[in-house]
């Protein structure tokens, strides 16, 4: 089990969880594609693994249809904590040389499972990768840094690489493969260590009040003005209007003119 792709069964964020729309994220699709390409390059089979409930078989079958040879699902709720997911995966792929992941999952979105797996396996890591070159024994990866800078990494096995969504486009499964994948066996295993639910109190998002530099100004009144200046207030500052598309467009042009961005 030398090449592994970790794929997660997720639905798009922002929408209520709907299993019918759930599948692999773009990032996980990219990860799978690299795993498959590397498998072809090295002449090795590719294992796909997921941690999740029975519905998650869907992403494994999709991966099998694309050419993965073995599929493992570790039984767990979708709410499993990231550390537990990583432990569960690492325990099942202890001999993996290359582990491909998406760089963060759409729902939890922490990007922490791949480095946790790397820590467990004592492997190298290249995370948040935006370009990959597969070169036999090594992989060259471009990683994002702050402020638009990038870092070029040379990675050797054992390694965990997590890639962004558009780094590769997952191949389209052939019809016959799709049919046989639907009937293929999926190895379902219990987690070797207990899986905890991530327990949280959930409430709608409201931005945090930002710390602002102490107001400057001669008089208390001036300082108060700085504090209450509309431009400095961050949240809920404008008007909300419901408009038909044509009116919306007109309103935008109008606003641009009012604010001095356009003269006609």
């Amino acid at each position: 089990m030398s090449i592994v792709a970790c794929v997660k069964w997720v639905s798009h964020p922002g929408e209520p969880h709907d299993e019918r729309f759930a599948g692999m994220s773009m990032a996980d699709q990219s990860a799978l594609e690299f795993a498959l390409q590397q498998g072809e390059l090295l002449g090795q089979p590719v294992t796909v693994i997921t941690v999740g409930p029975a519905g998650a078989d869907k992403v494994l079958r999709d991966a099998l249809a694309c050419g993965a040879t073995r599929a493992i699902r570790i039984e767990a709720p979708t709410t499993a904590a990231g550390t537990d997911v990583a432990t569960a995966i690492a325990d099942h792929i202890a001999d993996a040389e290359w582990v491909w992941c998406g760089d963060y999952s759409l729902d939890r979105g922490a990007g922490s499972v791949p480095p946790f797996i790397a820590a467990h396996l004592g492997a190298e890591q290249a995370l948040g990768v935006i370009a990959v070159t597969l070169l036999g024994a090594t992989v060259h990866a471009t990683r994002r840094l702050d402020g638009g800078r990038r870092e070029l990494l040379e990675v050797t096995a054992p390694a965990v690489v997590s890639v962004e969504g558009a780094t590769a486009r997952l191949r389209r499964a052939g019809l016959q493969h799709l049919r046989s994948a639907a009937a293929a066996t999926i190895e379902v295993m219990p987690a070797t260590t207990p899986i905890h639910r991530a327990e949280f109190m959930v409430r709608p998002y409201r931005p945090r009040a930002r710390e602002l530099p102490a107001p400057t100004g001669e008089s208390p009144l001036d300082r108060l003005r700085v504090l209450t200046d509309a431009a400095a207030a961050s949240a809920a500052r404008g008007e909300t209007v419901h408009l038909a598309p044509a009116d919306a467009a007109a309103r935008i042009v109008h606003a641009l003119r009012d604010w001095g961005y356009r003269d006609s």
């Binding site: 946790f116 994002r144 638009g148 390694a159 949280f200 930002r210 419901h242 935008i252 606003a255």
Partner: protein, 316 residues
């Protein structure tokens, strides 16, 4: 609580000062040029430990940091690329839970954003944990008293290299020039998942060309490959600071808006009147972004042909 901040060539990462402030001025700086970075934290930091250990090696650094942090119950890193890489390695070594992507951290309460920042998940952690904090959510109040922090050098002198492996850095590249001098672009028109097809990005660019705005996008869009990743605005993309931002079908997740600076004017078109981008906007229009874009293009006479070749730079 103590902040752990990765320094590269004396430069603090985005959100570095914020985590130091969140930890009331206590920090460990690790990397290269840590002394210079410590000086930059005057007015924010009070007590700094530096480890001058060269280029970024998350697995190795975790082993170097762990002994210093065993007695620190709460460790906070910025959610910058390096912070996000290092935090899990630290958490694994310290056997602690990791709370990634927080918008606020106290010893007894951590708040995380989830689901494209439509939700806040709040938790009361156990006594020991590691967290990363989203850059840009907090802001920093620089104290008027600019006393330099107390700096202790804890650089290990002759540590045998641990049995851990890190990838080798072969090169660090400056920002891609194709990205734009977009950090300076005064007007930006951004697209998000509310747009219904790749062709909308051309349309955005065309409308942008007419009003002198360059085109940017959310992570969802770059993940789909509709535009190159250089155009992604946000914590993992480029950080911009335009005067005017027009958002079409953008929900306004913190990872996006914290790369947005403080525009004087924001227009947002979204079918959901309550999402964060709409709350931030000066003009929040509840409407279908795609059809609005059709009308806007027609109204402004934005032609696709004229702009297909030059979508990077504003024309006016």
């Amino acid at each position: 609580m103590i902040a752990v901040v990765v320094v590269r060539d004396g430069q603090l990462p985005s959100g570095g000062d914020e985590v130091v402030a969140e930890c009331s001025g206590r920090a460990v700086l690790i990397g290269s040029g840590t002394a210079a970075a410590a000086a930059d934290l005057a007015g924010v930091a009070t007590e700094i430990t530096v480890l001058e250990v060269g280029g970024f090696q998350p697995a190795d650094w975790a082993t170097k940091l762990a002994p210093l942090l065993h007695h620190e119950p709460a460790v906070v890193l910025p959610g910058s690329p390096d912070g996000r890489d290092l935090a899990p390695r630290l958490a694994a070594l310290l056997h602690r839970p990791l709370y990634a992507g927080a918008i606020s951290v106290t010893p007894h309460r951590v708040e995380l954003t989830r689901r494209s920042s439509t939700e806040i998940h709040q938790t009361h952690p156990g006594p020991e944990f590691v967290a990363t904090m989203q850059p840009g959510v907090r802001g920093v109040a620089i104290s008027a008293d600019l006393t330099a922090p107390v700096v202790t050098d804890a650089t290990p002198t002759h540590l045998p290299r641990q049995q851990v492996r890190d990838a080798r850095v072969t090169e660090v590249l400056p920002p891609d020039p194709a990205t734009l001098a977009r950090a300076e672009a005064p007007r930006i028109i951004g697209g998000g998942a509310g747009l219904d097809g790749e062709h909308r990005m051309d349309q955005l660019a065309a409308v942008g060309a007419v009003i002198g705005a360059s085109m940017g996008a959310t992570r969802v869009i770059t993940d789909r490959g509709w535009v190159p990743h250089q155009r992604q605005i946000g914590t993992t993309g480029v950080v911009v600071d335009p005067e005017l931002y027009l958002a079409f079908g953008v929900s306004g997740a913190v990872q996006h808006t914290s790369g947005l600076g403080a525009p004087q004017h924001i227009i947002s078109v979204n079918t959901d009147g309550h999402c964060p981008m709409m709350q931030l906007a000066d003009l929040a229009i509840v409407a279908d972004a795609n059809e609005t874009l059709d009308h806007l293009a027609a109204l402004l006479g934005a032609s696709l042909q004229a702009t297909l070749h030059d979508t990077t730079e504003p024309s006016a």
